[in-house]
């Protein structure tokens, strides 16, 4: 029993990080119908900003989080204005290739500045408690709590505020909404800012939990978060959260009960089956094209 509880805790930690990054993918898709493939690398930039804040500026936890969030948000908005806005009327393929290019640029730029993997000294006290046979560390609590709080806040914002309504409206009908006086460009920039800042938070939490960072760390994690977003229903905020936890849970529980070599095979196999039977994802709605 305690073995299962321990693995559940592990799954919650991993799932939280996937969920936060998946939110970035899903918000941008919802509003622009475009997959921002550079998002994984923005997460990596968030982790590097965390490294700089901890090592150079010697800030405590909350300011590190804020620096990372603001830094990645600014970068996200800049990328949106420079790289994605000019391509809003272009074919989808061009936007995707641009996104991949931006990702490559971020990776190699960071590589040029810092080729060696870097270690982030711990900036949260390394405490852990034993509840029977289960070990809970302050780190795990911070990661899970931070993610849940931010996800609840985001959900409230999307459902209860004007800007959230504007985001949902634009994802529903992009052509009519500007006619209603909604500043579309501003809302899009805000969506990017919020989505990428969540990726930045994920970078900080990742740097906290796995303190060795390198310029290519965003690739694999980015892909997994993208898959989580699709599984949860791309474009759906609650879906991305659920998708993140589903993938985290699958990865951990497969290793917990089967030989660990089967992890990726079983986890992604199950996701493939899910998508075969429910292509729009867990919370996604089947899209109907009206002629």
């Amino acid at each position: 029993m305690s073995y299962l509880l321990q693995q559940v805790l592990n799954a919650l930690q991993l799932g939280s990080i996937y969920a936060l990054i998946a939110l970035g993918y899903t918000m941008v898709y919802g509003i622009l119908t475009m997959i921002n493939f550079a998002h994984g690398d923005l997460f990596m930039v968030g982790a590097f900003l965390c490294f700089l804040s901890v090592v150079l500026l010697k800030l405590p936890f909350v300011p590190v989080l804020l620096v990372s969030m603001v830094g990645t948000a600014l970068l996200g908005v800049t990328i949106e204005r420079l790289a994605y806005k000019p391509l809003r009327q272009a074919p989808r393929v061009s936007a995707i290739i641009t996104a991949l290019g931006v990702g490559l640029f971020l990776e190699n730029f960071t590589l040029a500045l810092s080729p060696y993997p870097k270690h982030i000294p711990s900036f949260v006290p390394d405490m852990s408690w034993m509840l029977g046979d289960v070990s809970i560390s302050l780190l795990q609590i911070v990661v899970i709590a931070c993610s849940l709080v931010l996800m609840v806040l985001l959900d409230l914002m999307v459902r209860r505020t004007m800007i959230g309504m504007a985001m949902r409206a634009i994802s529903w009908d992009k052509t009519t909404v500007p006619l209603m006086g909604v500043p579309v460009d501003l809302v899009i920039s805000m969506t990017f800012a919020i989505g990428t800042s969540l990726g930045g938070v994920a970078g900080v939490l990742y740097g906290l939990a796995y303190p060795v960072i390198d310029p290519y760390m965003g690739i694999m994690v980015g892909w997994k978060a993208f898959i989580s977003a699709v599984v949860g229903g791309i474009g759906n905020v609650r879906g991305a959260m659920i998708g993140g936890y589903v993938l985290g849970a699958l990865e951990i529980l497969v290793v917990a009960f089967l030989p660990s070599t089967y992890r990726d095979f079983v986890a992604f196999g199950l996701l493939l089956v899910l998508l075969v039977f429910r292509p729009h994802g867990i919370l996604g709605k089947p899209t109907v094209q009206k002629v």
Partner: protein
């Protein structure tokens, strides 16, 4: 008519070029190095590059290498494989066809050495890998026979796995061992299996044999499983950027076992990334920096003077690879790829910085001793020798 005239012009120019591109006699000895300068193990590539530059500088400062009755300077070409297998292969291709090197030294990590070795073998160019210990690097994948053009300066993993298994049982008094290794990487997988075989042959029990994939950072699920199995020792034959995370996560979960490593631990970067969490653990490697042999001490002093830090095992092995190459060139008597390779194959014994190397007939893998080092007060300290 104009068209025909144009075609004749082109033919004439091509003919001129072909006539001019004859085989000129080489004026320098060209050597290529493929190192992991960027990517997931840049510390390894950096050590290799520094040792290579030091070796070549020493050879050139002595007036060059004696080939026949003339002395030739050595020209070094360094390529980065960026921590990618395909780039290793293309770097080898570039060195062979564009830089026209006589031999290639490197790459170091097995998963990058194997692709490069296949290119070298196919092009019949000598390749010496300083640090790759997996037997597959010098074995033809299709026939199982040893490759003819690929050599190494280090021992191989069947020996290293045996050494570690015996050390775990005899010195660490371990009866139950757990292993966590990268299943997607030849080196990690190979040595994990060799360790398991010897450990079980000698009466021990491998209670957990868990895997992960390259670039994974979360090992909590595998380590929770390992904790449940209650091992005496946990074997982590993984590279220096992954081991600190594994040890830290393991200790946070409450695993009290001793951790044991292999020669992939040997970089100072491990200490930098691990901090105090790696105190008191052991690993096997190729040479001990606090060693007494005069040849080694000369090299360590020269390295320290040139670069300020202590050379690690990659640096020492790269230096020895260059030493082997130099001896092969001298004995070949000419700067020719086949002649140098044949001369290297004839070398039976070589005394290097990393100890005595014995090459058995027909084998490109030297028989050497290993050393066990302990991590004490943030540095690597000699603990024991392990002879073949």
């Amino acid at each position: 008519m104009k068209r025909a005239g144009f075609v004749w012009c082109i033919c004439f120019l091509v003919g001129l070029c072909a006539a001019g591109c004859g085989e000129k006699a080489p004026s320098t000895i060209r050597v290529g190095v493929i190192a992991e300068l960027t990517g997931d193990m840049p510390a390894v590539g950096e050590s290799c590059k520094k040792a290579a530059q030091l070796a070549v500088k020493e050879m050139n400062d002595a007036g060059g290498v004696q080939v026949g009755d003339k002395r030739y300077k050595v020209e070094l070409f360094i390529e980065d494989n960026a921590g990618k297998a395909d780039q290793s292969a293309s770097a080898a291709q570039k060195l062979i066809t564009q830089q026209k090197v006589v031999a290639i030294i490197g790459p170091n990590a097995t998963r990058y050495a194997i692709p490069a070795s296949e290119i070298a073998e196919g092009s019949k160019v000598l390749l010496i890998t300083p640090w790759s210990t997996n037997p597959k690097t010098t074995t033809d994948a299709k026939t199982g026979a040893p490759k003819k053009y690929v050599f190494r300066a280090c021992f191989i993993d069947p020996f290293q796995g045996r050494v570690l298994a015996r050390f775990a049982m005899d010195s660490l008094k371990a009866q139950k061992a757990a292993v966590l290794y990268d299943v997607a990487s030849d080196y990690n997988k190979g040595i994990a299996e060799f360790f398991k075989t010897t450990f079980e042959q000698n009466g021990g029990k491998v209670v957990a044999f868990e895997t992960y994939t390259t670039n994974d950072r979360d090992f909590s699920a595998q380590l929770t499983k390992i904790k449940k199995a209650e091992p005496d020792v946990v074997f982590l034959p993984n590279y220096y950027s992954e081991v600190p995370l594994q040890i830290q996560q393991a200790r946070r979960l409450g695993i009290k076992a001793l951790f044991l490593g292999s020669d992939s631990w040997g970089s100072q970067e491990l200490i930098k990334l691990c901090g105090n969490d790696c105190e008191g653990y052991y690993f096997s490697t190729h040479y001990a920096p606090d060693t007494a042999a005069p040849a080694a001490r000369r090299f360590i002093q020269a390295f320290k003077t040139a670069y300020g830090g202590m050379p690690d095992d990659v640096a020492a092995l790269t230096y020895d690879s260059f030493g082997l190459f130099r001896q092969a060139v001298i004995e070949a008597g000419k700067i020719d790829r086949q002649a140098v390779r044949d001369a290297l194959a004839k070398i039976q014994k070589y005394e290097g910085v990393t100890g005595d190397m014995q090459f058995r007939e027909g084998s490109s893998d030297p028989v050497k001793s290993a050393v066990i080092l302990k991590i004490k007060d943030g540095s690597f300290v000699y603990f024991a020798n392990a002879n073949p």
